[in-house]
């Protein structure tokens, strides 16, 4: 699909909307804009945000998003606890984060307003559904008076719009719906209105509604109507005469789409299994924020993806191990509490040297913690969290789109080295989205590895590839390769049970060496930024965007600072030590209490300084930049 003209409704045959717009005043051009939609969990804010994102992306903006929702399915309506938010940063240039503080807040009720107020910079625009500011709702939100009237909002630009009322009016003709149902289309009304305000076309959303609800369903018609009427409201109402346009960003040439991390992860692994020419068996147990990977893969049956919702996380990983033994790409996924349950079985996978993939979509911990929030606090668990000496490869994508590439990388390493691999995503990567250049499938590498076949010699299940130390992948069902594996220490070569001290020492070292050898087979750590920098800021995983942004900002203000970002955590890229050694200072921003920094200190004896944040939220670029600047003064 080509880029639709900005702010104009294209009129394909199927077009059901009539265009009533007069030519508007030319919009103000802005480099980028941050908008946050907030409302009750039931108000459809995630959907509203996603639609806006999709549209902005289609319009050629670079986008980055941050959905933030409560752990309750539906906390009591109108309360702070029930507020669900979706922040979107869209820009005419390359951006890397969803932005720090919103320029625009769309608040569906008083609670949404109150919860988000502290994040708004002075002068920001606030659109509220003033029809919701009843005494009861104000009290639920904990406002002492009505902020729309008592001066509370003086420092912001407030635009009150009776969204529910307008949406209800807009859909009056759709008799099948109750008044309550008609009111509930107000998020599409709001969406239409914001499309007008930011010169985006409502058409992609209209098409989406048609696809999703059916063109003729009452709900479909109502939503289309609300969307259109919202847009029209902008066109006709004086208040919205001032519009803002964010021009297209210069993205690399190619075909783009918007993608969330969980989707990219699921697609990446489905692709990897295809590239490996093996079925994918996915054993999982639902848990926030990992469940969507299960949901997505369960719809890919025609890709020979077999999903198992197991009875618990242990069964899920064991099913994946059984499948891996059976020659499939065996994958399991979970988050904190569920990953903790998988430790014993991971040990089994590494003892039997099978290419298992374990996806951890990290969330706020410890224990049940903050289920819907993001955190990077499972890194040391990933590396050390099993009994015995049990080294596993550990990878971490650095953003939603990168999850696709790293998924393929995970399968490559797992099958080439016959080792379990941990894939460390997080809640932020999982749910946020960014434009993603759709890869040309024909250019993806083959991951086919040979399955062992019957030979002359007696089969040795623990024979070794001299380079990778991989053992052969001998699939049950193959004549002549009958063999036994298990969790007791194995004699190298035969795979027989062995209690021999020397063999044990050998095998422990071998399993370590196998992981270490991967370092020769992965890209070196790259450094971005001045070559004469004296400070290296090094991070891993989902913080790439924020760290990048913060470093850029600091460089602009004259700091000699470079940025490196790890996607391979175990082993580290071969040049990590020498890279660190080149800098006077090493700063390590992480959404934990300094886990990577511990690793770097112990591996390389560099006085790495941790910049820690554990708030369940991603870094904000400005704050991080300040903290880095501060650290530079200190040392």
């Amino acid at each position: 699909m080509d880029l639709p003209k900005r702010g104009a409704l294209p009129s394909p045959e199927s077009q059901t909307m009539h265009d009533i717009r007069r030519e508007p005043a030319p919009p103000e051009i802005r480099d980028s804009l941050i908008i946050r939609f907030a409302g009750d969990s039931g108000d459809g804010m995630q959907l509203t945000g996603s639609r806006f994102t999709e549209t902005a992306a289609l319009a050629g903006n670079d986008v980055a998003t941050f959905p933030d929702f409560p752990a309750e399915i539906r906390a009591p309506a109108g309360t702070i606890a029930g507020v669900s938010g979706f922040q979107l940063h869209f820009a005419g240039r390359d951006i890397t984060t969803p932005g720090d503080r919103p320029d625009v807040l769309v608040a569906m009720n008083p609670a949404a307003l109150r919860k988000n107020l502290a994040d708004l910079p002075a002068g920001a625009t606030i659109m509220v559904d003033d029809g919701q500011f009843t005494a009861r709702n104000l009290q639920r939100a904990g406002f002492p008076g009505n902020p729309l009237e008592d001066g509370t909002l003086d420092q912001w630009k407030v635009i009150p719009v009776p969204l529910a009322k307008l949406a209800s009016d807009a859909t009056e003709e759709i008799a099948e719906l109750t008044p309550r149902e008609r009111e509930r289309t107000r998020n599409f009304f709001a969406l239409g209105l914001t499309f007008w305000m930011y010169t985006h076309s409502p058409e992609p959303t209209a098409a989406w509604i048609r696809r999703k609800f059916g063109e003729d369903s009452a709900l479909g018609r109502a939503n289309l109507q609300a969307l259109q009427k919202g847009y029209d409201y902008g066109v006709t109402t004086e208040v919205f005469a001032h519009r803002v346009e964010v021009p297209r960003a210069e993205l690399p040439q190619g075909t783009w789409r918007n993608i969330t991390g969980n989707l990219a992860t699921a697609y990446g692994f489905a692709a990897a299994a295809q590239l490996a020419e093996r079925p994918l068996v996915f054993g999982s147990y639902p848990i926030t924020p990992a469940s969507d990977i299960l949901h997505t893969l369960s719809r890919l049956k025609n890709f020979n993806v077999r999903t198992i919702q197991a009875e618990d996380e242990i069964a899920a990983i064991c099913a994946a191990i059984g499948a891996a033994w059976g020659g499939a790409i065996g994958i399991t996924s979970s988050s904190g509490p569920g990953i903790a349950l998988k430790g014993e079985a991971m040990g089994l996978a590494l003892m039997v040297e099978l290419p298992l993939i374990v996806i951890n979509v990290q969330r706020g911990g410890p224990s049940t913690g903050l289920p819907t929030k993001t955190e990077q606090s499972d890194l040391l668990q990933a590396i050390h969290g099993r009994h015995g000496e049990s080294p596993m490869a550990v990878l971490a994508p650095s953003g939603p789109g990168d999850a696709f590439e790293m998924a393929i990388e995970a399968v490559r390493i797992a099958t080439k080295y016959m080792t379990p691999v941990l894939f460390l995503s997080d809640g932020y990567i999982a749910n946020s989205s960014e434009p993603w250049q759709i890869p040309d499938v024909s250019t993806l590498p083959s991951l086919a590895v040979p399955t062992a076949a019957e030979g002359e010699e007696p089969f040795l299940p623990y024979a070794r590839d001299p380079d990778t130390l991989a053992r052969p992948w001998a699939t049950p069902g193959t004549p002549g390769l009958e063999h036994r594996v298990g969790g007791l220490e194995k004699a190298d070569g035969t795979g027989h049970i062995s209690y021999d001290p020397a063999n044990h020492e050998h095998m422990v070292a071998l399993r370590e060496d196998k992981i270490r050898r991967i370092a020769q087979d992965i890209p070196p750590l790259e450094v971005h930024g001045e070559t004469d920098a004296d400070t290296l800021v090094i991070g891993w995983g989902s913080t790439r965007g924020a760290i990048h942004g913060a470093c850029e900002r600091l460089r602009r203000s004259g700091h000699r600072i470079a940025h490196a970002h790890l996607r391979h955590l175990n082993p580290l890229p071969a040049n990590t030590g020498e890279t660190l050694a080149r800098y006077r200072r090493v700063l390590v921003p992480e959404l934990n209490r300094g886990q990577l920094s511990r690793i770097l200190r112990s591996e390389f004896l560099v006085p790495a300084v941790s910049l820690s944040q554990v708030r369940g939220l991603p870094f904000r670029v400005t704050e991080l930049a300040e903290r880095i600047a501060h650290a530079l003064e200190d040392a």
Partner: protein
């Protein structure tokens, strides 16, 4: 997978070069022998067998069978075997487990495997004790049992493997005894043929830590009085001279002297009978004066098989939607070109 008729296999083909490391006199030996007798008779190529076990004395089993074998972790052979079937539908997978492995740590997996009706043969070696860890009570140990971990006697009423399997909706339930080699082989043949989960409880003697646990059912002079062999459609009679018969009373079964009742009153075994009948059958064990254990196939009913459904969904998706087009998937519906 070779299409040609496999060459006839013998017991030897299934033996490995590994020393069998059970205690001398352990009931596990005869079960191993019965399996080594059964497998070559099944007409299945050796490479199509996979044996998956948990941890315990019994779970050493795979090492002694020259098939594919996986000695997994404690309590988890069921999901490993399930995953294996998800990868390779046409393998013939047997699970070997113990009373601790299957009913203590692994109870939940057993439940879900049975209710799903995954195509596995499950041999539960019930010795009513933890063998490998040297003699603690197990979930099938009697109330009051004194063991190393219960010096004053256990306070947990035992779980009854067959009632549990019934409660989980198992489609095939059988029982045999380590001391009855022929009976075991018969039961294994039946289990091999069942489509779905075939659950087999084996009374197994641990002569080191729980010797004689099933004495009543294994000793020459008592077994005929206490073992009720089942055969589908046949009357429930037992005893050396078939002197006992089982009749129906209310919701219960009762053992009577055959001489005292007419043939028509004797209940005939029905493998497809209602759950209530099978429960009543197990309740014969509870008669303190004359406990009777049924052996043979208690239940065998046809039901959809989990892994068949799994693969059918994949195939039907491919049929309906065509094999997955990766490029189309990645591209999705909303794209733009720069």
């Amino acid at each position: 997978m070779s299409a040609a008729t496999p060459p006839a296999l013998t017991r030897k083909d299934f033996q490995t070069d590994q020393d069998v490391r059970w205690c001398p006199g352990c009931g596990d030996y005869s079960i191993l022998a019965a399996i080594q007798k059964t497998f070559p008779e099944l007409g299945i190529p050796r490479e199509k067998f996979a044996i998956v076990s948990g941890i315990g004395c019994s779970s050493r089993f795979p090492y002694y069978m020259n098939t594919y074998g996986f000695h997994t972790i404690h309590g988890r052979p069921f999901p490993v075997a399930t995953g294996l079937k998800a990868a390779q539908p046409d393998l013939h997978v047997w699970v070997v487990t113990g009373d601790g492995d299957a009913l203590s740590i692994g109870g939940n997996h057993l439940m879900h495997t049975l209710r799903r009706n995954v195509d596995l043969r499950i041999l539960l070696f019930n010795n009513r004790i933890y063998g490998l860890t040297k003699g603690q009570y197990s979930p099938t140990s009697e109330l009051g049992k004194k063991t190393r971990s219960t010096p004053s006697g256990s306070i947990d009423p035992p779980v009854h493997p067959i009632r549990f399997a019934l409660g989980c909706g198992a489609t095939f339930i059988a029982r045999s005894i380590d001391r009855e080699p022929k009976h075991m082989v018969e039961v294994f043949h039946r289990a091999a043929k069942h489509r779905g989960s075939a659950f087999v409880e084996l009374y197994q003697n641990c002569n080191i830590f729980n010797d004689g646990a099933f004495q009543l059912f294994t000793e020459k002079d008592t077994k005929a009085h206490h073992v009720l062999p089942l055969a589908h459609g046949e009357p429930l009679v037992f005893g050396r001279e078939h002197e006992y018969a089982v009749v129906h009373e209310g919701f219960q079964l009762r053992v009577v002297k055959s001489a005292d009742v007419g043939d028509d009153r004797i209940v005939r075994h029905d493998e497809h009978g209602p759950l209530a009948y099978l429960h009543a059958l197990t309740e014969l064990e509870d008669d303190p004066d004359h406990p009777v254990s049924a052996i043979g196939v208690l239940r065998a009913v046809d039901a959809p098989v989990w892994d068949e459904l799994l693969h059918a969904q994949v195939e039907s998706a491919i049929e309906r939607q065509g094999p997955g087009d990766l490029q189309a998937l990645l591209t999705g519906t909303d794209t733009w070109t720069v």
